[in-house]
């Protein structure tokens, strides 16, 4: 989980078995004034789209990527393999940006 303190400092590659979580300094917050969600990160503010919000809400360090995709496939009535591929690619991008750890 605590990747950044690992001195080897390798890039994390997201797999179906990864258990992504948001580090304490990353904040997914609803902004009532603007009526939208924000991800607050070091000197960065992101505006996640609805799918990213659903994925991020499930990144608790316990659910695996496969668990998350399975749930989303059910909720959106979509093929699991497609959702799984999209979820992995989005989480890889978020991991590269430092928004999630896995």
């Amino acid at each position: 989980m605590n990747v950044e303190t690992n001195p080897s400092r390798a890039r994390v590659m997201i797999t179906p078995a990864s258990k992504p979580g948001m580090p304490p300094h990353i904040k997914l917050r609803h902004d009532p004034g603007r009526g939208r969600w924000h991800v607050l990160a070091p000197e960065r503010v992101f505006e996640p789209d609805p799918i990213a919000i659903e994925i991020l809400k499930r990144c608790d360090g316990v659910n695996s990527v496969e668990d998350i995709a399975t749930e989303l496939a059910k909720d959106y009535n979509a093929p699991l393999q497609e959702i799984l591929a999209d979820t992995i690619s989005m989480l890889q991008e978020l991991s590269d940006k430092g928004v999630i750890r896995a």
Binding site: T5, R11, D31, H38, E43, R44, F46, E47, E93
Partner: protein, 385 residues
């Protein structure tokens, strides 16, 4: 996932015109006091004195007002913000108000206990500046002894407390050749982010421009080094690369556009559209002691003056990039052309562009640049304040 353009981002993406939108960031210059004397300091030449600084309660009120106004991130800066003994009390109120708190520090006056307490009261992120990774050169640039060793220590504490660390490296002719080592230093320190920030020439940096300006070849080389490192360190360290606009063809969208996303509060409480805007004549700056932050943002004369595009002359007025770069920087237009409503001389369409580039080329081409004029507070005057 879209990113809301931060203050230092060079975004090609057109931004939606929305003059009355709320700001996303506030730079709080808590003090102008600093133990370092870097010749490129972004503080104004005339520094605010300690006895004129806002009180703890006044800064805490600024934090609450900022959150109410819709500001998301607060950048606690200076001078050196940690010389204020009440920094923790300000952070605590900012964090409770829901602001994302960012400490911008040189680190040399920080202790482990204080950092630990800052974390406890809700500090989210630490940005640590370095002058160079060569000890002697770092000392020469900052006029401060043993700074680098102290910075290493501070970086370790930040990581020990599992806080995110950004290394901020201002780049100029005296350290640009060390860029690969600077990047390695940031990786070793466990930084999740590095700012390779070429000096922007305002205030002290403008005064020292002839001493600091790198050559075009050096800048191009540094861009290659950053591109290669970015790819190699993908998923390990995020890069922010701030280019020097003297060698650019289009100007930077300074502050993401005047009065569009960011505001700045000086140690005395003056509210500015950007930290250098006091160099532009004809602006009236309101003070948080007299007026609410939201009122200043929406109606303050200094914010309204260059907000949007209606103030523009040609070539900006009919330019397809008018709402991308907003005519560049008003302060640079003022400093170099004598008229703040001119297009930024960094723009190739400016009639002053050639002279602007020629100045950089001439100064950077000199083998022995002039000595630094170090950033120092002027001797106290009887009528100071």
């Amino acid at each position: 996932m879209n990113e809301v353009a931060p203050m230092e981002q060079f975004s090609e993406k057109p931004l939606v015109e929305a003059c009355a939108r709320a700001p996303v960031g506030l730079l709080a210059e808590l003090t102008h006091r600093c133990p370092l004397q870097c010749p490129y300091c972004s503080n104004p030449l005339e520094l605010d004195r300690v006895n004129t600084e806002l009180t703890t309660e006044q800064w805490q009120d600024v934090m609450r007002q900022a959150a109410d106004l819709g500001i998301l991130q607060i950048h606690l800066s200076g001078g050196e913000p940690t010389v204020r003994k009440d920094l923790e009390d300000i952070i605590e109120v900012a964090a409770k108000a829901g602001l994302y708190t960012n400490l911008i520090t040189a680190g040399v006056t920080l202790t482990r206990d204080r950092l630990n307490r800052m974390k406890d009261v809700g500090l989210d992120h630490v940005q640590l500046s370095i002058q160079d990774v060569d000890e002697a050169n770092a000392e020469r640039i900052s006029a401060y002894k043993n700074g680098l060793a102290k910075k290493r220590e501070v970086g370790k504490w930040v990581r020990e407390f599992d806080m995110p660390l950004t290394i901020n490296a201002p780049i100029h002719r005296h350290n640009i050749e060390n860029l690969p080592n600077i990047i390695n230093f940031a990786v070793e320190m466990g930084a999740g982010r590095i700012e390779v920030a070429n000096i922007q020439y305002y205030a002290w940096a403008l005064k020292n421009r002839a001493s600091l300006m790198p050559t075009r070849a050096q800048v191009l080389k540094s861009a290659e080094i950053v591109e290669e490192a970015k790819e190699r360190l993908k998923g390990i360290m995020v890069f922010d690369f701030v280019v020097p606009d003297y060698y650019a063809k289009t100007p930077k969208p300074c502050m993401g556009g005047w009065g569009r996303g960011v505001m700045n509060v000086t140690p005395q409480g003056r509210v500015l559209p950007c930290h250098a805007s006091e160099s532009v004549p004809g602006l009236e700056f309101d003070n948080v002691k007299d007026r609410r932050l939201a009122d200043i943002w929406l109606n303050g004369q200094a914010f309204q003056k260059y907000r949007g595009t209606s103030w523009m002359k040609e070539p900006c007025r009919s330019c397809p990039r008018a709402e991308i770069d907003f005519g560049g920087c008003r302060c640079q237009a003022m400093a170099f052309t004598g008229d703040a409503t001119n297009t930024d001389p960094a723009c190739k369409l400016s009639p002053h562009h050639q002279a602007f580039v020629a100045a950089a080329e001439a100064e950077s081409g000199v083998a022995n640049p002039p000595p630094f004029v170090y950033r120092r507070m002027a001797p106290a005057k009887a009528t100071a304040g």
